[in-house]
């Protein structure tokens, strides 16, 4: 061993070491700099986060539009029908996508917004931004609690900010008061003399006063939601909203404009409909059509919106659309497909059925409401007027129910101008319609039915089947007969709730179990708190 030592400490090693030191830095610089990502931002632009949250919540680029808004609720609402078995809402048949909306709300709609809220919370210069984002948080989360019932609210989206990996579920009966109070607080903080997001506010272009109106209108929607469970609270907030100032014209409408072009600008419902449900290559034989319930009602009411809503398939072929739409939208030609049947069982209701007949059934008009250029309407003036009509009916609001009812229908029919297609429903047509369908029910219930049957027809324009479904559940109108497809998961009953995603029942099990213990079995037929 001494031999080794002698050799190592001889001449060779010192020589080598000398070289090591000489060349030390040349070979190893920048080691610690490697871990800086040159292609990412370490600090966000607040307004960009807000714009992202707005467009994602409106469905841009997210799976909830196709899987939930279209495949579940367009069917549940009997706006559309399908012979395909993967259209869950049409048949209440399992397709495994019941949890997609839940997952998307928290991980896409809310994710950037939570970061924004954390970064602006204590910044007085950003008080408006924080308040607007707080209002938007309520908008995002009210839809998920409406669909699933008890859901994470307080802990929602706090995985990075608080390290909360297991959000607990809040009871819907706690969420609603929090949302309403939260709206009130946030609106109170809005200072119309100060700026906000500017052009990054892709809904109101930076108008703080419009957000104020939006906040009160949302309060009206959420307050009215509680009529069946807590009429006192409902009345309190409906009246606060009205006093604060809700939308007063179509100019106040909350909408996100779209243009065809790319995934971040186009209307995503339209894109999904054209991609999967109404591809041009189907040449009219695709298994997804407008529903008989909707078409029959529009036809029997002689509704001037029918040509705006519906067309035969040739009107949906882009290259011939302009030439075909005038003829293919003729109201008499429109035909709706009954809900709840497949390509075989449809024969039970349409003897001698052949799939070739599908060409005679109407499709949503891709030149108008289902155009890639159509705006996404998040909260409409028309809806506000319907709610004000109900408030008047209940004696909670100003004016007469009939006036608000007429204003609601008028606002809806005048909204066609927001959409592509240059469709204008003339005031005379509107007046004729209002004359033919006055709010004249003999009882409160009959008036409610009139009100919300009209809401059903009006709201189709916005293709916001989430809110249509919530309103249906709360009011019971219009009266829809749920399908009873063999093997359906509701046993022929109406779909009144979505099941929690499997990811929650497995990964957030303790909180999930606690929620189920309180709310009731995790089923499509378990009513949410306000739907009693």
């Amino acid at each position: 061993m001494t031999d080794i030592k002698r050799k190592l400490t001889g001449t060779a090693l010192p020589t080598v070491l000398a070289f090591f030191i000489l060349m030390l830095s040349a070979c190893d610089k920048g080691f610690e700099d490697l871990n800086k990502n040159p292609n990412a931002f370490n600090e966000p632009v607040i307004g960009d986060l807000f714009a992202t949250s707005l467009i994602r919540t409106a469905g841009t680029g997210t799976p909830d539009r196709n899987r939930t808004n279209i495949k579940y609720f367009a069917g549940t609402m009997q706006y559309m029908a399908s012979l395909g078995t993967n259209w869950s809402g049409d048949k209440n048949f399992e397709n495994g996508q019941f949890g997609d909306f839940f997952e998307t709300v928290y991980s896409v709609h809310l994710k950037e917004l939570e970061q924004l809220l954390a970064l602006t919370k204590d910044n007085p210069d950003m008080a408006n931004q924080y308040a607007i984002a707080s209002i938007w948080r309520v908008f995002i989360l009210h839809r998920v609690t409406d669909a699933y019932g008890d859901v994470p609210y307080t802990d929602a989206g706090k995985g990075y900010i608080d390290g909360n990996y297991k959000p607990k579920y809040d009871k819907q009966s706690d969420i609603y008061p929090q949302m309403l109070a939260g709206l009130e607080t946030a609106i109170a903080k809005l200072d119309v003399s100060k700026g906000s997001y500017g052009v990054q506010d892709v809904i109101f272009q930076g108008s703080v006063s419009k957000w104020k109106t939006f906040g009160y209108s949302l309060m009206l929607r959420l307050g009215m939601r509680l009529t069946n469970v807590d009429a006192t609270m409902a009345r309190t907030y409906v009246q606060k909203a009205i006093a604060g100032g809700v939308m007063i014209s179509n100019a106040d409408i909350a909408k996100l404009n779209h243009v065809a072009g790319n995934g971040n600008t186009q209307n995503w419902d339209a894109f999904e409909l054209k991609r999967e449900s109404l591809p041009e290559s189907n040449v009219g034989k695709g298994p997804v059509k407008l529903a008989k319930t909707l078409i029959d009602l529009l036809q029997s009411y002689n509704d001037p919106r029918l040509p705006f809503y519906a067309t035969l398939w040739e009107g949906n072929i882009l290259s011939i659309q302009a030439a075909k739409l005038p003829t293919t939208t003729a109201p008499a030609l429109q035909k709706g497909l009954p809900n709840g049947y497949d390509a075989n069982s449809i024969k039970q209701v349409i003897p001698n059925w052949s799939n070739d007949q599908l060409v005679n059934y109407s499709e949503p008009n891709t030149g108008t409401i289902a155009s890639l250029n159509a705006p996404t309407v998040l909260l409409s003036y028309s809806e506000v007027e319907f709610l004000l009509a109900e408030a008047a009916l209940r004696g909670w609001g100003n004016g007469t129910a009939a006036d608000h009812y007429r204003a609601a229908i008028t606002a809806s029919m005048q909204s066609t101008t927001f959409f592509p297609g240059n469709v204008v429903i003339q005031q005379t047509a509107i007046n004729d319609y209002l004359t033919a369908h006055p709010l004249n029910g003999a009882t409160f219930d009959l008036q409610m039915e009139q009100l919300y049957t009209q809401f059903y027809l009006a709201h189709f324009m916005y293709y916001d089947n989430f809110e249509a479904w919530s309103t249906l559940r709360r009011t019971g109108y219009p009266k829809l007969v749920p399908p009873n497809y063999p093997g359906n998961f509701t046993g022929g009953a109406a779909l009144i709730r979505l099941k929690y995603p499997v990811s929650e029942s497995s990964i957030n099990k303790a909180n999930y179990d606690a929620a189920v213990a309180i709310q009731g079995p995790d089923l499509y037929t378990t009513a949410v708190w306000w739907d009693k």
Partner: protein
């Protein structure tokens, strides 16, 4: 200079001002490390200074030394020779200690001559193995003949020397025993030697063969040399490419020779390891010829890591990452890095199992290391040419055994219109097949009869044609090998092709007496067209071909598109693509251009001290496109993506080594440093909604998107090892490595990886060992190694700006769905103990190893609920244990001059237990590993083995009765529970080699046992009325009787129609489609014939052989039905899911090898 190359590679500005700053905390070690990291620079510099001495040879027959002995011991004599040469002696002390009183004149002469003189009459013989000279007692069957029997002969002796197969051996040393008279054989193995004295004995010596002494009995002496039995001095490649005597190893290393890979070849070398090595679980994927492989050594050690070994080619760690694979919802497998290698270029594959063998690789060694050494040039006269060609045919193996009694339709009724026929295109719930005329999706009437040959009719016969030409040659100063190869594969799925070209150059040069240079470079191109979509239905031709209703001939769907180019629908679900549209219109392709280079210089400072510097580069360009064509039913206007990425890893390594034998001790120590830099730059373009149909380029799309990916990280390392041998029977190995990571937070960014091992060669130490014992050794070792170094940029939340704005508003999102966290690599602690013995002249051998490998600090990418805003977070908390036993039995039942039979059997059992996942987390879902039917998936459960198949059974009440939904008669779904193992614990292989005269036969059979597989094929088979269970026991006619209790617990019984039952339970009762995945496969067969040397004597051909080769010929046993249990669609951690893969292909053909 090497470093300018490296810096340019990294895009560093080499003129940047030099700054020296030390990592805080551990400055001494850091300084040392930094010192060592740069040693490459010095060495390359030193080499330039010193590379000038004359060229010297390396054979003991050529190297001359001057040794003077005056009555000294043999041990002393050998030490003197060692001191004056680069050679190193190996011997048993017992053999040499009694040889004393040797004298020798001071004349300079070849070492071999000196040794002959010294050992004459001692009963000892010598043999050179590279730099080592082994001195041993002559074996009992040593070819020494009794000289008394020899006839005296005078004059010139001529003859030819051949090996056991009749191949002439050039360069064999032929010496007249006891003299300096000698010659060597020419290229044809011929020699002529003048023997002046009376007769005598000729000594034939050749590296790799047993030296022979042959009495001169006539004018012509033809000698057949026997190859050295490998068992005696097996030298294996170990960590850092150092060759070591297998005897001295303290851990388990298994080597597979390249010859096992070249005949019955696999395109992906990883697949060729199947069944060959105990403890190595190699799994192929059912994704096509250029798909990826999964190789796991001694069980899965990490819950989320890739669990695959580090692959090192000629000292260069190579990137084996998957470039894209199929998931639950389909996709294509873009293959892995191993498919870049040409088996013809591989000399050996050395598998360093587990931590102890691989410990020198530190943080990358947790899953073992596979060292691939490519062929290098050989010293020979002239240029040798090797030509190897293989042509094989591949045919799909049809394992589907559907019901053939009922045809398309629903509720017992056949379709009446074309629309109905389309709606029922994959529904076999129709009427009884009766031969009547029934409409099909093509609108034509066809006989309503079973179509049993859809697999045969849809798939092609694939072909693989592979050609390699290798040139090699060299002198003792320099040698080279160059090979070029081309492989063309036509897959069994029509329009799927692969072309691979590899060019490989290896050069060795002794630049001076002290400087040895070695350079190896490979350039390869792989071009794949139309890899097949597997899993799910989208664009997957397999699901259509395999699920089509029983009475429809799949060919009636051809060509799959109409006059306008639109997909012709054949079923009710637009995502279930027409199989002919999928093969005729759907397009994808990828090209990989790859350079792997290794440049190493060794400088022998003294006889014992050397320094080595090595630069390794793995650089590849991957270019891929994927087109959803115009007319595709579910995406009518089409879309496309292109992916380009550039991957590089450079490793600069420098080490100093010292080898010495001093008395009874031999030591071999080294210390070095390594600097690794890894970089990926990618550009992904996508575009959809083509403006002009049928024209596929990004600019044609109306929605274009660009994504740039970039990641760079580095590891700096210092390492050292010491091997100390005592008296040739006791060996101690110590290693240590410290790694510094760029991806860890700077305050705590380094880890130390130690190992220690001891082996004791009983047969050497035991003086009175029984005669039947040829060899016996016990060994034990312990090591801590690492794995799963964190990804770059994982420490902080970052944001990404979206390429596309919303009407002028810029958009920004949080980059990742993973909550950032500070992580370290996980640690894998391995203890192993082994026993190795050979008996009866090495006719029987056994090698048994037991090990425990426990991973701690495992990185758990724990899924977090989406309600947290994120999808997952990473935590260093997991713990997994693998305990197992490996057994290798070898035997030579028959050994005669004409016929021999060698057999080897390997078996491994690995018991894997997930000890801990994370606090409060007792199960972990493997990301994306859900069954296609979405009623289960692959999970880790605490206390269970890695990767369990979990799903639902029918709900049962407390007394075990099934609970039914009384409204429907369908069982309710029970809770999620474990249904099977995804990874087989027991694997084995048996390899038989027979040789008879010039014929040889090699048969490899392998099997895996104890795992299960979830078959989506069978679930869909049940849903669509194809599975046999839908007709068995008259269920179609009479319904399915069910009985149990209803939801309220009241007794319940009913009869449910089979269609209702199966079209519900297919997606609710997971357990119905989980089957055992045990199998035994006839993996490979080669039957070869070597042309006799006599036949070739007058041709330039040195040797030639022709073989019949076959792979995957038969499933000798298969416990799964309708599927091959190996047909996984992913090489990731989620094993045990099957879903419409490409049928396994049987491959057979001919191989021709010619050497000029």
């Amino acid at each position: 200079m090497i470093f300018s190359v490296k810096n340019a590679e990294q895009g560093h500005d080499i003129d940047r001002p030099v700054s020296i700053h030390l990592i805080s905390g551990n400055s001494v070690v850091t300084l040392l490390m930094r010192i060592a990291v740069v040693s490459l620079c010095i060495l390359s510099f030193s080499i330039q200074l010193l590379a000038s001495a004359p060229v010297k040879s390396q054979s003991i027959y050529e190297v001359q030394v001057r040794v003077e002995l005056k009555g000294e011991s043999l041990v002393k004599a050998l030490q003197k020779i060692e001191a004056r040469s680069n050679f190193h002696f190996m011997y048993r002390n017992a053999d040499v200690q009694d040889v004393n009183r040797l004298s020798l004149s001071a004349a300079k002469q070849p070492i071999a001559v000196i040794l002959k003189t010294l050992l004459s009459g001692t009963g000892l013989s010598f043999r050179q193995v590279e730099r080592q000279i082994l001195i041993s007692r002559q074996e009992a069957e040593s070819p020494v003949k009794n000289t008394a029997l020899s006839t005296m002969y005078q004059g010139t002796v001529k003859g030819q020397v051949t090996d056991g197969k009749g191949v002439p051996l050039p360069g064999v040393s032929v010496k007249l025993k006891g003299t300096s008279t000698g010659t060597s054989t020419d290229t044809q193995g011929r020699f002529a030697l003048n023997t002046a004295d009376n007769g005598g004995v000729l000594v034939f010596a050749y590296v790799g063969f047993v030296s022979q002494e042959v009495p001169i009995t006539g004018a012509v002496l033809n000698v057949v040399m026997k190859e050295e039995s490998k068992n005696l001095t097996e030298v294996v490649v170990t960590a850092l490419g150092i060759r070591r005597e297998k005897k001295s190893l303290t851990y388990s290393v298994t080597e597979v020779g390249g010859e096992n890979l070249t005949k019955a070849r696999e395109i992906n070398v990883g697949n060729a390891l199947s069944g060959r090595i105990a403890g190595v679980n190699a799994t192929s994927t059912s994704t096509g010829p250029a798909g990826s492989s999964r190789v796991v050594i001694r069980g899965n050690g990490s819950l989320n890591g890739d669990n695959q070994p580090l692959y090192v080619v000629n000292g260069v760690p190579i990137n084996n990452s998957n470039q894209g694979s199929a998931g639950t919802f389909g996709g294509i497998d873009r293959g892995d890095g191993l498919s870049s290698l040409n088996p013809d270029d591989i000399e050996t594959i050395s598998v360093l199992k587990g931590g102890t063998a691989a410990a020198l690789y530190g943080s990358r060694a947790a899953n073992g290391v596979i060292l691939i050494t490519t062929k290098s040039g050989k010293t020979q006269k002239g240029i040798g040419v090797d030509y190897n060609t293989t042509f094989t045919l591949e045919t799909p193996r049809d394992l589907l055994d559907w019901q053939y009694e009922y045809g398309s339709g629903s509720r017992g009724v056949a379709p009446l219109t074309q629309a109905e026929a389309i709606a029922n295109g994959r529904m076999s719930w129709g009427a009884k097949l009766d031969g009547s005329s029934v409409i099909q999706p093509d609108g034509q009437q066809h006989p309503y009869t079973a179509q049993k040959d859809n697999i045969k009719n849809f798939y092609d016969t694939g072909t693989t044609f592979s050609n390699t030409v290798a040139l090699n040659g060299g002198t003792e100063a320099a040698s080279f090998r160059f090979s070029a190869s081309n492989l063309d594969n036509k897959g069994i799925v029509p329009n799927n092709t692969l072309n691979r070209r590899t060019f490989n150059l290896s050069a060795n040069a002794n630049l001076s007496k002290k400087v040895v240079f070695e350079g190896r470079a490979q350039y390869s191109t792989e071009e794949n067209k139309n890899r097949t979509f597997t899993a799910d239905f989208q664009k997957n031709p397999n699901s259509g071909a395999q699920l089509i209703a029983t009475n429809i001939d799949v060919r009636t769907l051809s060509p799959g598109f109409d006059a306008n180019g639109n997909e012709v629908l054949w079923n009710d679900y637009i995502y279930s693509t027409n199989p002919y549209f999928a093969i005729n219109k759907v397009q994808n392709g990828d090209t990989r251009r790859r350079f792997i280079g290794s440049f190493s210089t060794r400088y022998n400072i003294t006889e014992s001290l050397y320094a080595r510097a090595r630069l390794g580069i793995d650089y590849f360009n991957f270019d891929a496109y994927n087109i959803e064509p115009t007319g595709l039913a579910f995406n009518n206007r089409g879309s496309m993506t292109t992916d380009q990425n550039v991957n590089s890893e450079t490793n600069a390594e420098a080490l100093i080594g010292y080898n010495k034998t001093a008395g009874k001790f031999s030591i071999n120590i080294l210390a070095g440093a390594n600097q690794m830099r890894n970089k990926v730059q990618g550009l992904n373009l996508s575009s959809g909604q083509f403006n002009v149909p049928f024209q596929y380029f990004i600019g044609n799309g109306s929605a274009q998107n660009t994504t740039i990916t970039y990641r760079e990280y580095g590891i700096n390392s210092l390492f050292a090892s010491a091997d100390i041998g005592f008296n040739n029977y006791l060996y101690l190995t110590l290693t240590g490595r410290e790694d510094w990571f760029s991806t860890l937070s700077t305050e705590n960014n380094h880890l130390f990886y130690p190992s220690v091992g001891l082996s004791y060669v009983v047969s050497e130490a035991w003086k009175t060992k029984p005669s039947w014992m040829s060899f016996a050794k016990v060994r034990g070792s312990w090591a801590q190694v690492g794995g799963g170094a964190p990804d770059p940029y994982g420490l902080n939340l970052t944001y990404t700006a979206q390429a596309q704005q919303h009407l002028g508003a810029t958009l920004m999102n949080i980059t990742s769905t993973t909550i950032p966290n500070k992580l370290t690599p996980y640690t894998s602690t391995t203890s192993e103990f082994g026993l190795e013995t050979r008996m009866f002249n090495n006719r029987i051998g056994a090698d048994i190893t037991v090990y425990d490998r426990t991973t701690t600090n495992d990185i758990v990418y724990a899924s977090v609920p989406f309600s947290s805003g994120y999808a997952r977070t990473a935590l260093n908390v997991g713990k997994i244990q693998n305990r197992g036993v490996e057994l290798l039995l070898t035997g030579t039942p028959v050994k005669s001059s004409k016929f021999s039979w060698d057999v080897s059997y390997n078996l491994a059992y690995n018991k894997n237990t997930v000890k801990k996942i994370a606090d409060g987390l007792s199960s972990l879902f493997i990301d994306g590993a859900t069954t296609r039917t979405q009623n289960g998936g692959i999970y880790h459960f605490e206390g269970q083995p890695f990767g369990m198949i979990a799903g639902n059974r029918a709900l049962k009440n407390a007394s075990g009765q099934i609970v039914y939904n009384s409204a429907t008669g369908i069982p309710l779904q029970g809770p999620l529970e474990v249904l099977g193992k995804g990874v087989p614990p027991l694997t084995m292989g048996i390899n038989n080699n027979f040789s008879y005269k010039d014929f040889s036969l090699s048969v490899l059979i392998d099997g895996k046992f104890g795992a299960q597989v979830y078959s989506a094929t069978n679930a869909y088979g049940a849903l669509y009325g194809l599975d046999k269970r839908t007709v068995e026991n008259g269920v179609r006619e009479n319904g399915i009787p069910v009985s149990g209790v209803d939801q309220r617990g009241a007794p319940y019984s009913a009869t449910v129609s089979a269609q209702t039952y199966y079209s519900t339970i297919w997606s609710t009762l997971t357990d119905q489609f989980v089957t055992d995945a045990d199998y035994i496969k006839l993996r490979s067969v080669t039957f070869g014939y070597s042309l006799p040397a006599k036949l070739l004597a007058k041709t330039p051909v040195q040797s030639a052989s022709i073989s019949f080769v076959a792979r995957n010929l038969f499933l000798l046993y298969n416990s799964a039905r309708n599927i091959d249990p190996e047909s996984s669609y992913s090489n990731g951690n989620a094993q045990g899911l099957e879903n419409f893969g490409i049928p396994t292909a049987r491959s057979y053909g001919l191989n021709l090898m010619v050497r000029f």
